[in-house]
Amino acid sequence: MSELEISNITKDYGATRALHPVSINVERGEFVTILGPSGCGKSTLLRILMGIARPSAGEIRLAGTRIDPLPPETRDIAMVFQSYALFPHMSVGKNLSFGLRMKNVPSPERARRIEHALEICNLTGLVERMPRQLSGGQQQRVALARAIVMQPRLLLFDEPLSNLDAKLRDTLRQELVYLHRRIGTTSIYVTHDQAEAMAMSDRIVVMDGGRVVETGTPLDLYRAPTRAFTAGFLGQTNLLTADADGTRARLPWGQLVALSAQAKGIARVSVRPETIAIRQDDTGAGTVTSVSFMGANALYTVGIAGTTLKVSQAGGESLIAAGSRVSLDFNGALHLLKDRELPEAA
């Protein structure tokens, strides 16, 4: 029995179906990210878990108990909102004690838990402040502290970092990971940022159009996605069709590469830009059409054999100028996609 069992949850808003039957199991202590583009139903699912929206069908069990009919305040779940949703009329301390008072936690215990949460979230000294007197990052941490002070069975995060700027997002992402490691609360984290998902999660659930597309560890999903959607959404990729002759397939520039699994005929594969080596070569078959310097690496687009490929060059000490002829080289195994067709553009 998993800690959280989401079984065949659907949600209809009038005629539109926001969630097709969705089933997800989360183990105790796991940090699971739900990743998907805007509008794919991530928030809807979280809200159903929290109890502030009701499912049209399906059931949810937390630690074996069915919770979907329960009102939110009885669910033992806490949530960190994208907007933080701090109570603007309460100080940081009051925000933190609110939930404990609602659950009638006795005063000394309350003080102890608040103290602890403040410390964990680096908020000591800010107890008296009002939310509007805090920076975005501090507000974010208060929202987090307010949730963990409840010591819930399940923690939900709805894109909690998306309102922060890049630098701060990086810092807080790190802090969140440490925090989870420390308190170990089972967590579901919603985001549309693949970097965030990969950096933080034990497991990623990829969603699209109200459906679960694929589930796996960040590594598995990045390296061996089985769906074009996953491949394209988790980082950059080249979605290609290759002629397979059983164990090997031919890439557009003619190279023959081993397949991870047997296939014959048209094989659909995803080739990551960083798995292709690029080399300036006046007799090469490809032409660089653009170069983007990204700091730690350079990103090229290369026209070759009628297709355009993205190629990433780590370090990129010496950039290859646009217009140069290049030759490409893939090494590794090709992972087959299970989609029937590839999308028009990645």
Binding site: R54, R66, P69, L70, P71, T74
Partner: protein, 286 residues
């Protein structure tokens, strides 16, 4: 099994359900019927009742003669026309005067703003009678008494505060960037006002215009003291019949209807275009 059955229904009952919707509807509309529709219907019955004494719950005999008498009065039409013309002029003039000031209130930070705000609100606070009597004396001196111009001028004192507040609330919602964008695209001050500010101020202008129109159409105290009886508006013409000391229910009811009808019609029509948040911001925020 039994445990589940026990907890489920209780939890379900706590949320707003499809069935409650009808109940809420029924309750609200019933309340509306009893508190608004019923009094209006009764008032109408009084206006056509030919005697209505206890124990009759509704009148036994009816007559239209009072209505006919009232409507036959040519002065009524003249007063209605006066009221309409005055209300239209007041509405436009109020908007025109209010706009620049509202812009300043919405866009310029300045030190005495609170004070100016209170001053603009003051006509709402000070009893109209005091202003009217004071202004009556001044207007007599200026030769504005008993003229349509005088009535218009004095009514604007009453309509201006709300219009300024509503317009301020509306103009506050226009992002600075829109104006900057317009300027960067080559629009000068006139272009910005004409093409950006005015069109975007329309919701506020509608709300303020509507309230000004109704405010003017119904204004009694100030118009009466400045204009009556030389300039007769509908309320001036009709309030004599509503004199509390000699008020006759049948006639008062007719008058009430004549006074109310235009306002109600305008209100119902405008209910669709009015934006609650703007109204609230203009009227409620202090």
């Amino acid at each position: 099994m039994a445990v589940v059955a026990e907890t489920l229904p209780k939890a379900r009952a706590r949320v707003f359900h499809e069935d409650d919707r009808l109940l809420v509807s029924a309750g609200l509309y019933a309340a509306l019927g009893l508190t608004i529709a019923l009094p209006l219907v009764l008032m109408f019955l009084w206006s056509v009742a030919d005697g209505w004494a206890p124990p009759n719950v509704i009148p036994r005999d009816y007559t239209l003669s009072r209505w006919l008498d009232m409507i036959a009065d040519p002065g009524l039409l003249r007063a209605a026309l006066n009221s309409t013309v005055i209300a239209v002029v007041v509405t436009f003039a109020t908007a025109l005067i209010a706009l620049p000031t509202a812009w300043a209130m919405a866009r310029f930070p300045f030190r005495l703003k609170r004070l100016v705000e209170i001053f603009i609100l003051a006509p709402v606070i000070i009893p109209g009678l005091v202003v009217a009597v004071g202004i009556g004396q001044v207007f007599l001196f200026l030769g504005l008494s008993y003229s349509i111009t005088g009535v218009i001028l004095v009514q604007i004192v009453g309509t201006l505060p709300l219009m300024i507040r509503l317009m301020t609330a509306t103009l506050e919602t226009i992002p600075d960037d829109l104006i900057h964008a317009a300027r960067s695209l080559g629009a000068g001050t006139v272009g910005v006002v004409l093409h950006i500010i005015l069109p975007l101020a329309v919701p506020g202008l509608l709300a303020g215009g509507l309230l000004s129109f109704i405010g003017s159409f119904e204004e009694f105290d100030k118009s009466f003291i400045v204009g009556a009886p030389v300039v007769e508006t509908l309320p001036i013409k009709l309030y004599t019949f509503l004199d509390p000391y000699s008020l006759q229910l049948p006639i008062a009811s007719i008058i009430a209807f004549i006074l109310l009808l235009p306002a109600l019609i305008v209100f119902v029509i405008a209910g669709r275009i009015l934006r609650d948040d703007l109204m609230a911001a203009g009227m409620g925020k202090l």
